[in-house]
Symmetry: C2
Subunit: 452 residues, 2 copies
């Protein structure tokens, strides 16, 4: 009687996709509702609009809320756009408070009021409090379903208390929080310490003080780093007076880390981490057009620089043939430094303090690679066009551009960060501007001075 291992899950998803492709929907519904909400969300995200609608219509209403919470913002907004007040009430009926707060942004205000009016006073106050925290802070990540105990009671009393709570104990509770009469946070009692400790010991004797509570206004990226460096699976959240507000569980932190990674990766191409792979064509076109427009400015700037040297180019066409190489080598080298710097900033490992060290190192690397590739490219170009001056020119231009690329790659992200601009989004466009302009200017400018 061994339980089936996890490979069976993927088979169900594949099976489901085949059924959807075949168009016979009855068995799909049954299979679908045997999956976890997050699995269904994952599947919905991977389907083009038409089949996404079909799958969504097969989901049992009682699962809809949890699936919506697990979806990326864009896909969620798409699926709820036709939901009326009654639909919203049904969807939100069984949700935890922290999940509900995630959905509120998509709900019409009248619906929010209606949902709230169904709550008792305490529940409503809690929800209002949670809505007051920004989504990207500890307060926005936390859940309020904590079990609290007093420091002076014995473990035996705690065990009896939990047994009385029975089914009411929140799922996935892994620790109890110790508070005094004023609800001030004092420490944490992990369940493994509770069950392995001496029943006659008091909570105060056994509780752990090592885990510091997080302030409700701590940024979510800092929360994630705290979880990572302390290898914990939940943490208490307190207000500015040290009063316990709730707890953050690691599953929400995992989402933050995933999104941080995607933000950096997608931002580089001007895309949002919430981007729906199958967004409507017009929506996608509009968003991409903005990014293309910004980059077009860069491209025209580079063209304008080239335009200053039309005479030289008309005389030495070889320059036109070779000039993309100078710009491209600079762009590649610069983007390596930029990538390293953006990661360093995101991890909190690159600050004003060690920026000089990174800059010096990157300049040294740029100088060495500049010399190496100046020789290689110079030799090839010289042989190709049978011209020593052109060989010398491109060699010097490449060295100059690789040095500027290292400088800009290390400096730009820190500068942008200080200006409050996201380096992951703007860094790459600006860097290309620098390496294109410097590359063309050095190569064509030197040529105009020396060849003519």
């Amino acid at each position: 009687m061994s339980a089936p291992t996890e490979s069976t899950k993927d088979q169900r998803v594949t099976q489901l996709q085949e059924i959807l492709d075949s168009g016979v929907l009855r068995p799909a519904g049954r299979l679908l509702n045997s999956l976890a909400p997050a699995e269904i969300a994952h599947l919905l995200e991977s389907l083009p609009p038409a089949r996404r609608e079909i799958l969504w219509s097969l989901v049992k209403p009682e699962f809809e809320g949890e699936i919506l919470v697990a979806l990326s913002d864009e896909v969620r907004a798409d699926l709820v756009k036709d939901l009326d007040a009654a639909g919203w009430l049904a969807v939100t009926e069984n949700l935890d408070l922290d999940d509900l707060t995630d959905l509120v942004q998509d709900m019409p205000e009248t619906v929010v009021r209606e949902v709230m009016s169904a709550f008792d006073d305490q529940h409503r106050k809690r929800l209002e409090a949670m809505l007051s925290y920004s989504e990207d802070t500890a307060g926005g990540l936390m859940n309020t379903d904590t079990v609290t105990i007093r420091p002076e009671v014995t473990l035996d009393v705690v065990l009896r208390y939990l047994r009385r709570l029975g089914e009411e104990i929140p799922e996935e509770t892994d620790a109890l929080f110790v508070v005094n009469r004023d609800d001030e946070y004092l420490g944490v009692l992990p369940l493994w310490k509770l069950v392995s400790g001496n029943p006659d010991d008091t909570v105060a004797e056994v509780m752990s003080l090592a885990l510091k509570p997080l302030r409700m206004d701590m940024a979510d990226s800092e929360v994630a780093r705290y979880f990572e460096t302390h290898d914990i699976s939940s943490a208490p959240v307190v207000d500015e007076r040290g009063n316990l507000l709730g707890r953050i569980t690691v599953d929400d932190v995992v989402d933050v880390i995933r999104e941080e990674g995607e933000h950096q990766f997608m931002g580089r191409a001007g895309l949002s981490e919430e981007e729906d792979m199958f967004a409507p064509v017009l929506t996608s076109t509009r968003r991409r057009a903005v990014w293309l427009g910004i980059n077009l400015l860069t491209a025209f700037l580079a063209s304008w620089v080239i335009g200053q040297f039309q005479e030289t180019l008309a005389k030495y066409v070889a320059l036109a043939v070779l000039m993309p190489i100078v710009a491209s080598m600079g762009g590649i080298a610069g983007s390596q430094t930029l990538t390293l710097a953006i990661r360093g900033i995101a991890l909190g490992q690159l600050t004003g303090k060690n920026a000089r060290d990174l800059m010096l190192k990157e300049l040294a690397v740029g100088a060495l690679n500049g010399i190496i590739w100046a020789i290689v490219v110079g030799a090839i170009a010289g042989l190709w066009f049978d011209s020593a001056p052109i060989a010398g020119l491109i060699a010097v231009a490449i060295t100059i551009n690789l040095l500027f690329a290292a400088f800009a790659g290390a400096l730009l992200p820190l500068l942008l960060k200080r200006l409050g601009i996201d380096p992951a989004l703007a860094g790459s466009v600006l860097l290309t501007t620098v390496t294109d302009v410097v590359g063309f200017l050095a190569f064509l400018g030197l040529a105009s001075l020396l060849l003519i």
Copy 2:
């Protein structure tokens, strides 16, 4: 008596950095050893080599092992390069088995044998078994310190058993695994169910069957996705016969997710996610040179294409001025599609099944943006050079290049994936090749046909 909140940690780190900068080392040591091992690792990674050595020399020997485990591969390799056998034995003395396996790759073989000879038979067999799993599988991620129980005993008996175990219960245990006499995995008993359940119920009545065990050969990225979709903090690992081998805890999964994100982000620039920000200049230069060399081939290919049209260029210098715009617009548009596709593949949301849907959508977006920007760029170029033919030429070339960019951006990553090549690493170079070559060919080729 409220506990200090988490902001105090960052103060300690800042303080430490200031002390290091000032050169007075005694207080630094005390402060340092009050940090968590992962915090020290994080700090070491952010220091340039000289100060990194100093900080490392201040670390208490008993913390060194855990810090090494938390470091990125490159920084770790740097710090242990002078460690002798005695040093290694001291470092590895207090480590858990799963941490030890992470370090074995850096240890000289003689040291590995010496460490193993200090173990008892059971311990050694376990270590050998764990070393036999690849690092990027469930087996490589797991820990073997599980607490197992039988299904037929009552909760009361389990509680008494845990109390007898006392301190021996593994830290951070959040669930007990239920196995039969043959060690086959049957289910899981989370501690919160144990403490809230009726003491007279048997384990079999209370245990959860919803959590499927993971096969030891499951890829780590799949393990991560399983943890994410099921919001769990630990999972059992079994062998092909369903026998329990160990458990994976979420802190190790968090590292996998962080590394996956960094791999995509860094790979785009030809960097490894393990890259040390302060790697030695010569090491960095060598690695970057490889990437620059690969990209140089691309650049020369583009140059060669341009070289085919030297006559045309000599006659119409405007073409040389404008040609980077055509290539750049294609590169930007293509990289957006590529980024979307690489993320889709990494998340398992883009497969052969829906590739056609993505391709059609991206081609439509490419066509629309192609037309929009063809008009804009055509108008500007026409006015700039006062030439209707040039306006028409660049408009057509941009439309062609944006369509090709969408096609290549969607197709390349899937093709690379099928060939077993990492799309995050190779995708961007190949895409640039396509958009450069197509851009220059379309623009200059059409010009040669129509203008001359």
